[in-house]
Amino acid sequence: MSADELTALTVKEASRLLRLGSISASDLVTAHVERIERLDPKVKAYLRFTPELWEKQADEADRRIRQGDAPPLAGVPIAVKDVLCVRGVETTAGSKVLQGFRPPYTATAVQRLFDAGAVMLGVTNCDEFAMGSSTENSGYFPTRNPWDTARVPGGSSGGSAAAVAAGEAIISLGTDTGGSIRQPAALCGVVGMKPTYGRVSRYGLIAFASSLDQVGPFARSVDDAALVLSLMSGLDMLDATSSGRPGMEVLNNYGGGVKGMRLGVPREYYDVAGIEAGVKAAIDAALFILQREGAEVVDVSLPHTDYGLAAYYIIAPAECSSNLARFDGVKYGLSEVDAPNVTELYMQTRRKGFGTEVRRRVMLGTYALSSGYYDAYYLKAQKVRTLIKRDFDGAFEKCDAIVSATSPTVAFPIGSKTQDPLSMYLCDVLTLGGNLAGLPGISVPCGTSDGLPVGLQVLAPQWGENVALRVARAYEEASEIRAEVAEVV
């Protein structure tokens, strides 16, 4: 088997070959490392590599495969977004402020994949503290879209999406606060899933906005995403917001097809401002296929869509302004510890450590919570969050799942939106509602526009991952559109 074939496998395919003894976990690692060495200088998906881990974990996987007790992800190479802590591995949330930080703990989601036999290749790039939609806000360097390296991979989990799209990992982990898994999945042509808030433990996830953040997988197939999500999910006593629901329930009957299902198309999403004609055409084609498979497409309305972005850009910055207060140069990370006094230590450390977008959001959030503005901004946004949640409740009375484009546009050129923050924020207009309402959502490849990938988003009611997966899988099968590995040029 050629190296290119080894780096284009799904988990299912790789597991079969590993169990048959056709390849070893070490072979898989070697093929990936060689491809990374060849392509990553162009893609720049990875921030750093973890050879100590991959050697140990691949050996262990090979040993267990030989013994015949291989766990479900034995030998599968994965990449981990720089916001998920891994014990002893430098973890920086894409920020200079955390340079050199090595956590003495591993995020629960990552640990569960390690326990399932996964082999970690490295840490992927992202927007600083997951704030962004293009990975251009990384404190280190921008990541490139493997399909066109002059364009962004989306963000904030751009490195993780690009790694899977470029054949530099079979699975990767991202986090989604306003669309940070689904949007880069769409722009890179891979599958990306954000679970219901509370489905996956946030322990070890460096927080951006605590009431919105969730960990989820990138994969090359809906089956792989479902498997990885089921393995990460479930109660964690270290996260008071993690649900006691069993992880395996995300797999309930998800292969059942869409026949008889009602799929809602919100008119506010379908005709969202700025949606590209090519994207709309791809969605129309996808709706046609789903109808052909027996789904009923129904009109629904999410009347407060126009207010979602505004509410989101109060709530998320407010939470982040508090979450980022701990980066003070006292306990870890960058520190101007020789400043003349503590106030200067804070001011200088945070001036040098945080990039422009982070500073913008910390100021915005501080303002929204500050005395005299709390009611007008923060409280107002929380009330609008209620309205948005009610919009979805109302829509789900008429349909089983909601389908739309994931992003109004395909991947855009690097640098094209960095001067205008609002235009960047609008990238998430179709995804952030799912975060405000805590819904599960998946993005699956649905063709191309101008040669660039388009993503189809499926949103389901809370705890309805299996419903979203069912629609996505039926579409994947019927459309015969697969997440392909980019030949990076």
Binding site: V330, G333, R351, R359, M363, T366
Partner: protein, 97 residues
């Protein structure tokens, strides 16, 4: 609602973010633009709408009062930018106005 340069300075001070020359003007412009979009929230009547702070279904997830092992002092201080003995070191706490 546009944000003045004074307000930017005030907010930056609250957030303990040091500013560089020109930052006040830069952020006042950018934040005013964003707030211009956000101000559409004021169009909505939310008088009788309860706020949503969280969308979690779990209530009262509590921990039993069982001590767990702490970090060793070396682990606790491993990432410290400056330490003296077993302490984290910081510069003087200036309290003067």
């Amino acid at each position: 609602m546009p944000l003045s340069e004074d307000e930017v300075r005030h907010v930056a001070t609250l957030a303990r973010l040091g500013l560089e020359p020109g930052d006040e003007e830069f952020y006042a412009g950018q934040l005013s633009g964003i707030l211009g979009h956000i101000d559409r929230l004021q169009q909505l009547d939310t008088e009788d709408i309860p706020p949503t702070a969280q969308v979690v279904e779990v209530a009262s997830r509590l921990r039993d009062d069982e001590p767990r092992p702490c970090l060793s002092p070396d682990e606790a201080l491993a990432n410290a930018p400056a330490r003296v003995g077993g302490f984290f070191r910081v510069p003087a706490i200036q309290e003067e106005a």
